[in-house]
């Protein structure tokens, strides 16, 4: 592979953190209002921040399944990054990273690190969360049903 490799990203500020998403995974960027009716994933909780319900949404095509929206917060713009702007994290630091991020970052002198969202892992983590949540609800419903059907 040549040394002129570059990637295109959409840069955003989400819950106080600078993030970037590979543009090849994004089919369009929508406003919050335009994203009504789309299944939305908010990466904020995985980044140790509160969920936000405003800003822009990236429409992402998962490897399997229908498109989903990923909340980006405030979009900063679209950029092309060369390898000089990408910094892999050492293994020991990577272990401390949230599962939804690549083990590397972009770096700009005015903002510092820009964390790279891994869409596939984000969707996987989100699906796992939903599964856990529905399992919990199912158990609660079962328990309630048992209590109601117990003779007094």
């Amino acid at each position: 592979m040549g040394s002129k490799l570059s990637i295109e990203v959409v840069r955003a500020r989400l819950a106080g953190r600078e993030i970037a998403l590979e543009l090849r995974r994004v089919s369009s960027v929508l406003t919050n209002d335009e994203a009504q009716g789309i299944e939305l994933i908010d990466p904020s909780p995985w980044l140790g921040a509160r969920s936000i319900h405003k800003g822009h949404v990236a429409l992402v095509l998962p490897e399997v399944g229908p498109p989903v929206g990923v909340r980006l917060g405030e979009v900063r713009g679209f950029e092309r990054w060369t390898k000089r702007e990408l910094f892999p994290l050492p293994e020991w630091l990577g272990k401390h990273m949230p599962e939804i991020l690549f083990e590397g970052c972009g770096w700009k002198e005015d903002v510092g690190a820009i964390w790279l969202l891994d869409v596939d892992r984000l969707i996987k983590a989100w699906l796992a969360d939903r599964k856990r949540e529905s399992e919990m609800l199912r158990r609660q419903a079962q328990q309630k049903h048992k209590q109601q059907s117990m003779p007094e």
Partner: protein, 186 residues
């Protein structure tokens, strides 16, 4: 691995580009300023302060001493890993000894001007936050054979190889291997 082809219409994958950069930048980019590290056979140490405590690190374990530049908090990291910075195209994780040693937040002092001591053990490289004053000192190797006083708190004692007393109090020689194994690798 469709992107390994030379087809310019297929955009490269971020993970592939990242691993390629990782391979290419596995060593420090020293630029044109040289920066050869001269190893010494002497028991030479770097002494520094953090808050009210003075520490020392074996010279062979110190890669560089830097002024603290722009750093960014690492999402999801434990509190003693205060963030990352970039130096010579390497990502440096920053460790705060006060937090790792469980020092009471009220005892912690904001350093007006911080330095970062880059320490290295085998493949592990990390930055230890230090106060503004760093000096080179020489210790007799006999000090390494002495016992670490009981008065040093347990959570700190585990990481102390030796202690030297002088007019200003105790200087604690850090066991960098153990510190990095516990605080960095976890």
């Amino acid at each position: 691995m469709a992107n390994e082809t030379d087809d310019p219409t297929i955009p490269p994958r971020l993970d592939e580009v990242l691993s390629q950069v990782a391979e290419e930048t596995s060593e420090f980019d020293w630029g044109d300023d040289g920066g050869d590290f001269i190893e010494s056979e002497q028991l030479t140490l770097l002494q520094f302060s953090r808050g009210n405590q003075r520490y020392a690190i074996l010279g062979e374990e110190v890669r560089e001493v830097l002024n603290r530049g722009l750093s960014t908090e690492l999402p999801g990291a434990p509190p003693h890993i205060t963030g990352i910075m970039i130096h010579r195209r390497q990502v440096i994780g920053l460790l705060d000894l006060d937090i790792w040693f469980g020092l009471d937040p009220h005892q912690r002092q904001e350093e007006p001007f911080e330095r970062v001591i880059l320490v290295e053990r085998e493949t592990l490289l990390a930055g230890i936050l230090a106060g503004p004053s760093t000096t080179i000192v020489h210790w007799s190797s006999d000090l390494l054979d002495g016992d670490v006083p009981e008065s040093i708190p347990g959570q700190v004692k585990r990481y102390i190889q030796a202690v030297k007393d002088d007019d200003e109090g105790a200087v604690l020689l850090l066991d960098i291997t153990r510190l990095l194994e516990d605080a960095a690798v976890g």
